[in-house]
Amino acid sequence: MLTEQQEQELLENVRSVTDHMKMVDEVFRQMRVGQNMVLAFQCGHSGLYLPADYVKNWGRGYGVGLGPHPVSEVLDTDYFTAPPRITEDIEDFDQIMHPVGNTFAQVDYMLVEETAFQQNAAILVKDDPKMRRRIEVIRPKQLANSKGRLRVLQVAWIEAGKALK
């Protein structure tokens, strides 16, 4: 059994002799297909990954209330609808934002690297029923979006003498 260092040395030797077409790299790349890879569904709107059993267990923890046919349950911002008014009932600026909704986008089955899956996994409704974790991700995006109206409202909130968290 070769160590990783021995493997690299052997590879360099073979490359130096034969690999003008980068064929060795290609063979090694194909050998590694399937290693550290996982099956996942990808939301066609956000690009976020959903678990491999997303469609199989549709309605059993995934996509509850979204109809009989599997679609993405990922949330997206509706910038076309204005944020709610600031009224006396609003105690905290965090209550104000453009509304969010499920994307209902197509989901596609694919093989992705495990690390990529982990870095881009969607937060599932069953793990976040009151949207707290997902809103922590979405709200800063709304504030950063110059086309949104949340920044204007934030200025109005501050000018009204109210504190931000």
């Binding site: 059993r60 949330l75 944020p83 949207m131």
Partner: protein
């Protein structure tokens, strides 16, 4: 005489109650009161789960604690009708209350139609109106594995209706495994049976599971579900009590 048609799309702030979404839109304030005796049709959808509405006119309610279908668009007519058989007098105020229990803002899209029940000879005052239909709809309701006879109407507004009525029940489930049954007081009306698999708020008439049930005034309506599927499931239900007497 022409109908009044209100259609709006409004964001409801996180963790808040909006006591009347119609009044929240300055353009619609002039339509808060019914200009004539009319039949009310309410259709509504929401952008994500977590928003619930109550609808009423004057002192009366015709839709209580209703969850709505999740949709990216405006309500589909007639599939997203919440209630289309409530009758108001001229001058009654339209009320549409929304409660958002989530940490995010959610869009409520609704259509409220007031269809006149009088003709151009109407000169004002109250007229005799048909009785209302009372609607409740909920979902998703989590039904854990091995649940037996979970009472869905327990403590809700129209668990008992104070007039005789005809009951219609619509149900769907998120995946197969739930059985429902109905008792009126001690009488078993509908034995345990499977229901639709549509995984959304029920639609009339597609998801009808029980209909034509005579309910005496103040009788206890027990709508029960059981789940022996091996996993937790979610349920969606809607009841319509067509009152036989106007109160």
């Amino acid at each position: 005489m022409q109908p009044v048609i209100i259609q709006d799309s409004i964001a409801i702030a996180a963790n808040t109650i909006n006591e009347n979404v119609i009044a929240s839109n300055d353009s619609l304030r002039g339509l808060l009161e019914a200009p004539f005796p009319g039949r009310l049709r309410l259709l509504a959808v929401i952008s994500a789960t977590g928003l619930r509405i109550d609808a009423g006119y004057g002192q009366k309610k015709y839709a209580a604690s209703c969850d709505l279908r999740v949709s990216t668009s405006t309500p589909d007519d007639p599939l997203d009708v919440v209630n289309d058989e409530a009758y108001c007098q001229a001058g009654d105020q339209m009320i549409l209350r929304a409660v958002n229990t989530t940490a995010g803002s959610i869009t409520l899209r609704y259509i409220l139609q007031i269809i006149p029940v009088v003709d151009d000879s109407y000169t004002g005052g109250d007229v005799e109106l048909p009785p209302d239909v009372l609607v409740m709809q909920r979902g998703p309701v989590a039904v854990a594995n091995n649940t037996v006879d979970l009472q869905l109407l327990d403590g809700l507004t129209w668990e008992r209706v104070n007039t005789p009525s005809i009951l219609k029940v619509f149900m769907t489930q998120s995946a197969a495994g739930i059985l429902r049954q109905l008792y009126i007081d001690q009488d078993r009306i509908a034995p345990p049976s499977a229901i639709s698999l549509n995984n959304r708020i029920p639609q009339d008439p597609f998801d009808t599971t029980i209909s034509g049930v005579e309910v005496p005034a103040n009788a206890l309506q027990q709508l029960q579900v059981s789940n022996a599927s091996g996993g937790s499931l979610n349920l969606f239900w809607k009841t319509k009590n067509a009152q036989l007497v106007r109160n």
